[in-house]
């Protein structure tokens, strides 16, 4: 494993983190707070949308984001050969 490859691994990791954190921000702070009053004009079932994002939706999205990151990183670890062996690293 040479340094050049490791640098690329890290760069891709940073890119994943930035993309996922942007979604994290948009959903919680965007939909749940800043845009909540506007989104509240839309009603789905009994929920006003801004209220739903603030008290339900953002939490579901948080869970999904973590599992997407886990999936992406496990694949990336294998691609760059930095995955841990069974005994641990």
């Amino acid at each position: 494993m040479n340094n050049h490859n490791l640098k690329e691994y890290w760069a891709i990791n940073i890119r994943y983190v930035l993309i996922l954190i942007s979604i994290w921000f948009v959903v919680s702070y965007g939909f749940g707070i800043l845009l909540a009053p506007t989104l509240n004009d839309i009603q789905i079932g009994g929920f006003k949308l801004g209220f739903w994002f603030a008290q339900q939706g953002s939490i579901y999205v948080f869970v999904i984001l973590i599992f997407v990151y886990v999936y992406l990183m496990n694949k990336l670890d294998i691609r760059f050969g930095v995955q841990e062996t069974e005994e641990g690293s």
């Binding site: 494993m1 490791l6 691994y9 890290w10 990791n13 983190v17 996922l20 954190i21 994290w24 919680s28 702070y29 749940g32 707070i33 800043l34 909540a36 009053p37 509240n40 789905i44 079932g45 009994g46 929920f47 006003k48 209220f51 739903w52 603030a54 008290q55 339900q56 953002s58 939490i59 579901y60 948080f62 869970v63 984001l65 973590i66 599992f67 990151y69 886990v70 990183m73 496990n74 670890d77 930095v82 995955q83 841990e84 062996t85 641990g88 690293s89």
Partner: protein, 588 residues
């Protein structure tokens, strides 16, 4: 069977279980005591983290708080879950790769400085002690409300239980008791929620129920009905709230970042075998937490609706039995200001301060309608009802007319939530003393056996201190929770993030950042919460930011100071930069 008998049965069974685990999981080395030898299965760790994290406040108080805050309650819901995304993406995997025992360990090694380590230890101790006092208080409250045991003995019993498994088993004992405690608390939280959701909306899943139509024949959505009730009574609509948008924003950031910087949460991710496990373990933890956190806002809506429709403009003498029972505990009280014998519920406080029951010779003095009378002066609002926030979860089963065993279950769940968090915090306190102070600073040559002994002594001592604060709570326990999160956000979080993502960050910058962030946050909270509470209103706050949200400011100041001071001083030594490089890759 009575609620009390059921409570004795549930508490008896769960406590025997915790003690059993304590005996089975005795730790024999410091590695076992501090991080369970790093052999915890990621799913197990996720569940333990959930119990570690969800405290008496999450279990007993949060749904009640939200039901009075409406939309604004989102600060807790998002703030106390969103931090896990930060943990999974930016902290847990790297700290696991670093592979030591504590957060001060990382700060001390990464910033090649005993001063940095000491600052981190001080932060860890302040955060953990403020937090743990509240937990012991929660234990005492449950005992006194449900078992009619004196708060003093309630705390003593709680201390004895925690002492057994935390001091004997260390992290190993704590992990497996936390798994058991998670099962108890989530079952206790969900059972009443299913029942009440089905009663009100016909849909037993609370997450869907509170967006459904009522089954009372009105063909109205529950939330629309609640908004309507609120507006009629003069409250802001439930789904819009009253806090300013920037305050909501700042509080949410402070709670999220604070969560990600709490040492007792971070240390849980040192206990899994691999980096890969640390990542997924955070995901499992958040699923387990989300089950409770997506149910709590539903419970808030159900209990708020139930409360308003049961009491408002109804004659006092037609109140159900639970109303009169909770009156005697001074958690729910009525003062007939307009003398019409009916309960008027309106915005504002009904009385000055918390209720003090009027007694002569120990007998409660009753009013014209048989109500419990109070000594408190009345306020000038129309509101005649005092409702303690905690009652919304505690009394929920009774308000909904559920069987006695459900109410008893809530008591056992509250105890599980308080004990599991207390144990996690006590472990942080004990490792900070035995490992970060004694082993790393005063006596590096200490044998593992001796260090383990010190860890046990420190844990025992911390239990005693926590118990003392549980029995004699400082008047500001509720206030200082803001301090715990603000401090974690303003001290640890930037130092760890910079330590991982910015290789050139040096010790001078990090230390300056932590100290300035810490002092600024302490000063702001101390000023408004302790010294001058009369100024604690939006017109005096900086940029409209309440003390709860100031940790966000502290974090930004920490970042700026760290980077600015860091530029003046030389880069960290080569071997430190290499260490930073190495924690970025799971292997190699």
């Amino acid at each position: 069977m009575s609620v009390q008998l059921w409570t004795y049965i549930f508490v008896g069974i769960t406590f025997s279980l915790y003690i059993g685990i304590a005996i089975w999981s005795k730790a024999s080395s410091t590695s076992e005591f501090y991080v369970a030898k790093g052999t915890v299965n990621p799913l197990t760790n996720g569940m333990a983290t959930a119990a570690d994290w969800m405290s008496a406040a999450s279990f007993l108080s949060m749904a009640g708080l939200i039901s009075f805050m409406g939309y604004d309650g989102a600060v807790y819901l998002m703030g106390w879950t969103g931090g896990y995304v930060l943990l999974a993406l930016t902290l847990a995997p790297y700290l696991r790769k670093f592979g030591k025992f504590t957060v001060p360990d990382f700060i001390g090694d990464r910033y090649y400085s005993q001063i940095a380590r000491t600052v981190a230890v001080i932060c860890a101790l302040i955060v953990s002690f403020t937090y743990v006092a509240g937990q012991m208080r929660g234990v005492g409250l449950v005992f006194s409300k449900f078992l009619e045991v004196d708060i003093f003995w309630g705390v003593i019993i709680g201390m004895a239980i925690v002492f057994m498994y935390a001091v004997l088993g260390g992290m190993k004992g704590i992990t497996y008791t936390q798994v058991a405690q998670y099962c108890v608390l989530i079952f206790a939280f969900m059972v009443p929620a299913f029942f009440i959701s089905a009663q009100l909306t016909g849909n037993p899943i609370p997450q869907l129920g509170f967006g459904s139509k009522l089954v009372d024949g009105s063909d109205m959505y529950l939330l629309d009905k609640l908004d309507q009730l609120h507006t009629e009574l003069g409250f802001a609509a439930y789904t819009s709230g009253t806090k300013s948008m920037q305050d909501i924003f700042f509080i949410t950031v402070a709670l999220m970042v604070g969560t990600a910087g709490l040492p007792h949460v971070i240390v849980r991710f040192f206990t899994v075998p691999k980096v890969k496990d640390a990542r997924i373990s955070v995901g499992y933890a958040l699923i387990f937490i989300a089950i409770l956190y997506t149910t709590a806002p539903a419970i808030a809506v159900f209990s708020r609706t139930n409360l308003i429709t049961t009491v408002n403009e109804q004659p006092y003498d037609q109140m159900p039995e639970w109303f009169t029972t909770w009156e005697e505990t001074a958690l729910l009280n009525w003062v007939d200001k307009n003398g019409d014998g009916r309960i008027t519920y309106a915005p504002g406080q009904a009385i000055v301060g918390s209720p003090e029951i009027n007694r002569t010779n120990g007998e409660i003095v009753r009013g014209e309608y048989g109500e419990v009378t109070l000594l408190n002066p009345l306020t000038s609002t129309e509101n005649e009802l005092y409702v303690d926030r905690d009652i919304m979860v505690l009394a929920n089963p009774e308000i909904a007319g559920l069987p006695n065993w459900v109410a008893a279950l809530v008591a056992a769940g509250g105890l599980a939530a308080a004990l599991s968090t207390a144990a996690g915090l006590l472990l942080v306190i004990s490792t900070s003393v035995s490992h970060d102070l004694i082993k790393k600073q005063f006596n590096p040559d200490i044998s593992d056996k001796k260090e383990l002994l010190f860890a046990r002594i420190a844990a025992g001592f911390a239990v005693l201190v926590a118990g003392y604060f549980g029995i004699n709570p400082p008047g500001f326990v509720a206030e200082v929770v803001a301090i715990a999160f603000g401090l974690a956000a303003a001290s640890f979080f930037p130092a760890i993030i910079l330590g991982i993502f910015y290789k050139k960050m040096n010790r001078e910058g990090a230390i300056a950042g932590m100290i300035v962030g810490l002092l600024f946050t302490l000063a702001y909270i101390g000023f408004f919460k302790l010294l001058y509470p009369e100024y604690n209103t939006p017109e005096y706050w900086w940029f409209g930011i309440s003390p709860e949200g100031v940790g966000t400011f502290g974090m930004l100041i920490n970042l700026i100071v760290s980077l600015a001071v860091g530029m003046i001083f030389p880069d960290p030594p080569e071997e430190v930069q290499e260490m930073v490089e190495s924690i970025r890759y799971p292997r190699a």
